[in-house]
C-alpha cells in the first residue's frame, strides 16, 4: 500500500545527489531552501555541492525555480497523477502506451530517462508542493508521489517530503498526532477524538455550514478559503487570535490581539521535516501570547458543567 519514506533536511544536504521538485516553486516560496538544504550546500557525501547534484523540476508552467534546475518537465495541468502513476509502472518495467503518455504533456522518452536517472541516483529525494497536493486529485496526488518514492527503495535510496509552509502548520500536525492520534480534521463532539478528512476538515465543515461557532488561531482562512466557507464564518460567531488585522479578523465577531510567536513570544516551531526548533523572542509585547489566551479560555470552559454525560470513563465501541 505504499507509505511515507522521508528524512530530515540534513540528510538531503549531506547525501542527496538527485533532487526532484514537483508542483512547487521554492525559489520564490521557500527562498532559503536551495541555499540552506537542498541544492547549494556542500555536504559530507556531496563535497562539491551543486555540482554533485542533479535537479529536476516538474511543474505546469515555467517559474523562477526553473533556472535552478538541470531538467525541467512541463506537465499538462491536472496530469500529475497520471505521470506519477506511469512512473510507478515504468520503474517496474511495465509497458505503457506511448500515445497515451503524450497526453500528459511529456513523452515516454522523457519519462524513461527520468526513471533511469532515478535508479542511478545514490540518494534521491522528491519534494512536492501545493501545485501537486491542492490540485485535482489532491491527497491521491500526494499519495502517488509518496508511493513512488517508497517503491524506488527496491532499487536505491529514495525519500519524499512535502514542502510545507505558512507558519507552524507542521507543529500543529505533530502535536495533534500525539494528543489525539490524528494530524488534522479531528472532531471531539463525542468526547474522544475522531478523524475524517472531508467530513471534519475545517473547509468542509464551513462550506456545508456544519459549525455554529469558530475559534481561529494562527491562520487566515478569510484570505485562502473558498467563498462559501468565508460567508459562513461571517454568519457565525467567529473569534480570531492574531497579532495583526487580517481578512478573517475583519469578518470576526471578536479579534484578540496577541504577541507574535517567535518575535515577542517563545515557543517551538516544527520545521517541514518535523525537526523542532526553539523560538526565542527578541522583543517584549504588550499583548498576551496565544498560549495565555487559550489557557484562560480553556479554564473558563472547564469551569462549566460537563456536557458529554459519558456513561463511563472510556468506550470500547467508537462510532
Amino acid at each position: 500500500m505504499g507509505g511515507k519514506v522521508t528524512c530530515t533536511l540534513g540528510e538531503v544536504k549531506n547525501r542527496a545527489d538527485f533532487i526532484v521538485f514537483w508542483g512547487g516553486n521554492p525559489a520564490e516560496c521557500h527562498p532559503r531552501h536551495f541555499t540552506k538544504y537542498s541544492l547549494m550546500p556542500k555536504g559530507k557525501h556531496v563535497p562539491n555541492g551543486r555540482k554533485d547534484r542533479t535537479v529536476v523540476l516538474v511543474d505546469i508552467r515555467e517559474t523562477k525555480s526553473v533556472k535552478a534546475a538541470d531538467i525541467f518537465l512541463q506537465v499538462r495541468p491536472g496530469k500529475d497523477f497520471e505521470v506519477l502513476t506511469i512512473l510507478r509502472a515504468l520503474i517496474k518495467d511495465q509497458a505503457v502506451d506511448p500515445r497515451q503518455v503524450a497526453e500528459t504533456g511529456l513523452t515516454l522518452e522523457q519519462l524513461t530517462d527520468l526513471v533511469a536517472r532515478m535508479k542511478r541516483a545514490k540518494f534521491g529525494v522528491m519534494f512536492f508542493g501545493m501545485g501537486l497536493s491542492m490540485t485535482r486529485g489532491k491527497h491521491m496526488n500526494s499519495a502517488a508521489l509518496l508511493t513512488l518514492a517508497a517503491e524506488m527503495n527496491a532499487f536505491t535510496k529514495f525519500v519524499a517530503m512535502p514542502m510545507r509552509g505558512h507558519g507552524n502548520v507542521t507543529g500543529a500536525d505533530v502535536v495533534m498526532r500525539w494528543q489525539t492520534g490524528y494530524p488534522f480534521g479531528i472532531n471531539f463532539s463525542r468526547g474522544y477524538p475522531r478523524y475524517n478528512p472531508g467530513e471534519f476538515s475545517t473547509v468542509d465543515l464551513l462550506v456545508r455550514g456544519d459549525a455554529d461557532a469558530a475559534l481561529i488561531l494562527g491562520a487566515d482562512p478569510g484570505a485562502t478559503m473558498p467563498q462559501p466557507a468565508i460567508d459562513h464564518l461571517a454568519r457565525i460567531p467567529t473569534i480570531v487570535l492574531d497579532p495583526k488585522v487580517t481578512h478573517t479578523s475583519r469578518l470576526a465577531r471578536v479579534h484578540i490581539t496577541t504577541a507574535v510567536t517567535g518575535i515577542s513570544a517563545p515557543g517551538t516551531g516544527y520545521r517541514m521535516d518535523e525537526v523542532p526548533i526553539p523560538l526565542r523572542p527578541a522583543l517584549k509585547s504588550p499583548y498576551p501570547t496565544d498560549e495565555e489566551v487559550i489557557r484562560r479560555i480553556h479554564e473558563a470552559v472547564c469551569a462549566k458543567p460537563d456536557w458529554i454525560h459519558a456513561n463511563g470513563q472510556y468506550t470500547t465501541n467508537q462510532v
Partner: protein, 271 residues
Amino acid sequence: MSAIVLRLKDRPAVPLEAEVISPDLLAEMPHADIRAQAVYLGKRRLRLDDLFEVEGERSDQVEVHGDLGQVKWLGRGMSRGSLVVHGNAGMHLGAYMRGGRIEVHGSAGDWLGAEMKNGQIRVQGDAGGQVGAAYRGSLSGMRDGTILIGGSAGLEVGMRMRRGTIVIGGRARDFAGLQMKGGTLVLLGGAEIRAGAWMVRGTIISLQPLTLLPTFTYACRYNPDFLRLYSRFLAPLGIELPVAAQQGSYALYSGDASVPGKGEILVWQPV
C-alpha cells in the same frame, strides 16, 4: 408487526449523529425506551424524542421521514430488518452494515455503505463520495453486499472494495474503483477521470466511454460469459446490462500496471 415510524421535527442546524436508528437496536425495545435513546446534536447528548416524533415499538422495520441530510450514521452496523428513509440521508448511511435492507427515497451523503460486510442499500437519488469505500487507512472497503444508486455518485466510489456489487445509475466522479481489490462496480452512466486507478483485482463495467489511465492496456473486444450470469443477478434489482452480441460488445482493459494489478475494466461499445 407494524413498523417503528420516526418523523424528524426540524432539520438540525448542526449534524446529528443517530446510530441508534438501526433495526438491530430498536427491534426489542418498548416505545418508552425508543424515545429515550441517546442521539448527539453537535456536542450535546439528547433524547431521540427531542428531535423525532416516535410511533410504534418492537419492530425491525424502521421508517424515517423528513429531510435527514444532516443526520449521520443511520443504520450503522445493522444486520437485519429494514430501514426506509423518506427524504435525504446524511453521511455514513449503513456503514459497517452486516445484513438487512436500507432504502432511501431521496439522496444520501458520503461514506454510504462504507466497510459494509453484507446487506443491500438502495438510494433513489444521488450519493456522495466514498460509496462502499474503506475508511482512511483501512486495508479494505466493502466485503460483500449490494449498493444500488439511482443517480450520480461522488469521488472514490468503491475505494479498496474487496467483494460485492456497486451499481451507479448516473455518473460517478473521479477515482471510481480506486485501489479496488475485488468485487464489481457497474457504472451505467460512466465516470469522470481515473476510474480504476491502482486497482489490484476486481471488475469495473461501464456502459459509457471512460477516460482510462495510461497504465491500462487494451486486451480485446468480447461478450464475456460471466456477464450473462451477472445480468441475471442484476435483473431482479431492476438493472439491465446489455449482453447480446447483436447489440454490441465490451472492450476489455487490464491494469493498473503501476501496481501492477490484474483488474479488469469492461467498456460497452454498442454496434
